[in-house]
């Protein structure tokens, strides 16, 4: 079973390393990982796609919670969240094939980011599953290079923002 986790971490050196090291050590599988800033300058968000074949999701979440830099771990449940991924794909496109490929791209809302004498670079920003589909389609045309950012996600607009992480102040 695959799950998407949204993790808020303190924006401190080493925070990401601690998480990835813990995943490696405990034998958890990360399929994709994206890190970036949030609405707060001192907090970063890590979106993780994890494969929980051998280890229950709960165990992964609990181990992450124990890390001092981790503020909150939440699962992005399908249906209640928006997930997106950015991909760039360089596809072989000799002049005779160009039109056909561009038409395919249009169906997927893929933008032509660059055009060369015999290749097109497509840019997609959509649900990760649609990236998969487009990737499969263009593969037969000669997929020369591919890069994906890994998915990012947020709760849907009708879902209230989770509370700010509680401050733990000791006496």
């Amino acid at each position: 079973m695959k799950h998407t986790l949204s993790v808020l971490v303190e924006n401190k050196p080493g925070a990401l390393t601690r998480i990835t090291s813990m995943f490696a050590r405990r034998g958890f599988n990360i399929e994709s990982l994206a890190v970036g800033p949030t609405e707060r300058h001192d907090v970063s968000r890590i979106t993780l796609r994890v494969d929980c074949e051998t280890m229950p999701l709960e165990q992964i979440e609990k181990q992450m919670h124990k890390l001092v830099n981790v503020l909150r771990v939440a699962e992005l449940t399908p249906g209640e969240s928006i997930e997106r991924e950015l991909a760039l794909m360089k596809v072989s496109a000799p002049p005779g094939k160009r039109a056909e490929l561009m038409a395919l791209g249009e169906v997927f809302n893929a933008r032509v980011a660059d055009l060369g004498p015999d290749a097109i670079v497509f840019e997609l920003c959509c649900a990760p599953e649609d990236v998969d589909s487009f990737e499969e389609l263009v593969r037969s045309h000669g997929l020369q290079e591919l890069v994906r950012t890994g998915r990012i996600g947020l709760g849907r607009a009708n879902k209230p923002k989770p509370n700010r992480p509680r401050q733990h102040v000791l006496a």
Partner: protein, 587 residues
């Protein structure tokens, strides 16, 4: 107040109430040692090896229930601390390690004695800090002590570049700090505790399976009260040995790989297991799928990640054990149900009588078990004895034969199984409890890993007694090769007479005793115990002795292999095979 970073570190330690730290200086930590020379109320114990310093800090923490502090320089000093840090991680021992680092502007350049110690230790610390600004030091140290000792205890590391130690700051120790990502639970869930009480009241064969977390939680009184009022039998793991008085009628021994048969039966045939600060370690469960097949599990732990990690918990309670145990007892009291455990307690007692620990007391040679039995006899009734151990057969015999009635009187490396733990841990325990008589039960192999700390014990006037159960072998490995590798012995022979341990002890300014037979044993041990000095007793024991019972790795706990007497299977201590296939150590 204006001061430099190094002085500030000492003021922080003083503010935390630290009375002893253990360490060894070097280039990158020189400013801190210079600050010590200028003055501090914190005693520094100079170890001979940073691994020793680390284990001393662990022994100190385990004997006192407080945070241990170890100090080392950058590079090799820091890497020498890695083993104690890993050990403290596995055994949840609260430790603050302070390491020097090369100057900030040299970090990343492969400078002399530069080493990414925060990187190396990421998997084995609760948290670590590389201090980049001297003004952060007071906050970082406050956080370090807080994180080490709250929630599930464990080691933290503070790496301080030399220039940060030398930089000036306006010092004040913070009263409070903000750690938004560190929120250990403060109390257990009331409804879960009530459910646990209902399960305990309904059980016919309940048992408390107590782990080291109980000692870390300072919850031994609460444990005793609960056990007595609900008449619950108690097994204590190696890490929890001494958490429950072992002379108490409700103490049902120690479960696990070398636990007595009756203890393993009590745990595995229970219908309800209340795990108290224990983590279902493989050394306790044996084959997990066959562990306590009929038991409902109540799991009390401060660490939510331990719940259902190995064995599904039917009723988990996450919280600090002290209030959780108090509340559980209160709930049970309020139910006012008669305890139904008497038949079960009688059953366990029958097993206890039926399956006592046994060994064959024949032949000329001193039996290792006899050494432990004699130590127990000589110290029976004394409340001032603290035991530490190495790792191996001698450790398991110590667990089996020593009776510990007072919390924190047995200190051993459980999770990591670190050979060489015993001597430095004893020195640390002595520093924590100067009034105690600290005895390290060591193996000849373990002794040779950290014997240099005898110098520390002698010169720092932290006298310890080391009893070497000297079988001339890496005995535990020998046992495994004998039992599971078709008696193909490989690289295990140490030789009983080399070094001459008693002479080595004397070279260190300690007392040295050689015991070659049972007649000499009691006298030597008694003299060592009474000496008030650091003393080493080299007890030459029968090298062929195996430690039984034993649950072979991966086997079900109920399938443990017992000692067999002359009429049974001759495998244990199989004399002729051992003598044929390799020469015994020269007596």
């Amino acid at each position: 107040m204006k001061m430099n970073g190094a002085d500030a570190i000492l003021r922080c330690l003083e503010a935390e109430g630290v009375d002893v730290m253990f360490g060894l200086p070097g280039g990158a930590i020189l400013p801190l040692y210079d600050a010590m020379a200028r003055g501090t109320t914190v005693r520094h114990v100079l170890a001979r090896h940073e691994q020793g310093a680390g284990h001393m800090a662990e022994g100190y923490a385990r004997a006192s229930g407080r945070v241990g502090v170890a100090v080392a320089t950058s590079g090799p000093g820091a890497t020498n601390l890695v083993t104690p840090i890993a050990d403290a991680w596995m055994d949840s021992t609260p430790l603050v390690c302070i390491t020097g680092q090369v100057r900030s502007f040299l970090i990343g350049t492969d400078a002399f004695q530069e080493c990414d110690i925060t990187g190396i230790t990421i998997p084995i610390v609760k948290h670590s800090w590389l201090v980049q600004d001297v003004n952060e030091l007071p906050h970082v140290l406050k956080a370090a002590f807080h994180v080490a000792a709250t929630g599930r205890c464990g080691p933290v590391l503070v790496d301080v570049p030399r220039d940060v130690q030398e930089a000036e700051l306006d010092f004040s120790y913070p009263d409070s700090i903000s750690l938004p990502g560190w929120k250990p639970p403060r109390r257990g869930h009331a409804r879960q505790i009530a459910a646990a009480a209902t399960a305990v009241a309904a059980a016919e064969r309940p048992i408390l399976y107590v782990g080291g977390g109980t000692l870390n939680a300072h919850a031994t009184d609460e444990l005793l009260e609960l056990a007595e009022s609900a008449r619950l039998p108690v097994v204590t793991t190696l890490m929890a040995k001494s958490a429950f008085p072992e002379s108490h009628e409700l103490h049902a021994g120690w479960p696990g790989m070398h636990g007595p048969k009756w203890s393993n039966w009590a745990l595995n045939k229970a219908d309800l297991i209340v795990a108290v600060g224990a983590r279902f370690d493989d050394r306790v469960t044996g084959k997990v799928s066959a562990f306590a097949p009929g038991a409902t599990i109540v799991h009390l732990d401060i660490d939510a990640a331990e719940i259902s990690k190995i064995r599904h918990a039917d009723i988990p309670v996450v919280g600090p054990l002290k209030p959780v145990l108090t509340q559980l007892k209160k709930e049970l009291d309020e139910k006012k149900v008669e305890s139904r455990t008497e038949p079960w307690l009688r059953q366990i007692d029958e097993w206890r009588e039926q399956f006592p620990l046994r060994y064959r007391a024949d032949g000329e040679l001193l039996k290792p078990q006899k050494v432990l039995e004699t130590l127990q006899e000589l110290t029976a009734g004394r409340s001032d004895v603290i035991w530490t151990t190495g790792v191996g057969q001698h450790q398991m015999w110590a667990m089996q034969y020593l009776q510990c009635d007072r919390p924190r009187s047995f200190i051993s490396s459980g999770g990591l199984g670190t050979m060489g733990y015993g001597i430095p841990a004893a020195v640390g325990a002595k520093a924590a409890r100067p009034d105690a008589t600290v005895v390290c039960v060591d193996g000849d192999g373990c002794f040779q890993m950290t014997a240099q700390e005898l110098a520390t014990a002698v010169l720092e006037e932290l006298p310890i007694i080391v009893v070497i159960v000297n079988n001339g072998y890496l005995g535990m490995v020998r046992q495994w090769q004998d039992m599971f590798f078709n008696e193909r012995f490989s690289q295990i022979r140490l030789t009983q007479s080399l070094p001459d341990y008693a002479a080595l002890a004397r070279a260190y300014g300690a007392l040295g005793f050689l015991v070659e037979s049972e007649d000499e044993l009691e006298d030597a041990l008694a003299q060592a115990l009474a000496s008030g000095r650091t003393a080493v007793v080299d007890a030459r024991v029968d090298p062929r002795e195996h430690c039984f019972p034993m649950i072979p790795a991966g086997a079900a706990a109920l399938d443990l292999v017992e000692f067999e007497d002359e009429n049974g299977d001759p495998r244990p201590g199989r004399d002729e095979v051992a003598t044929r296939s390799l020469p015994l150590g020269t007596p």
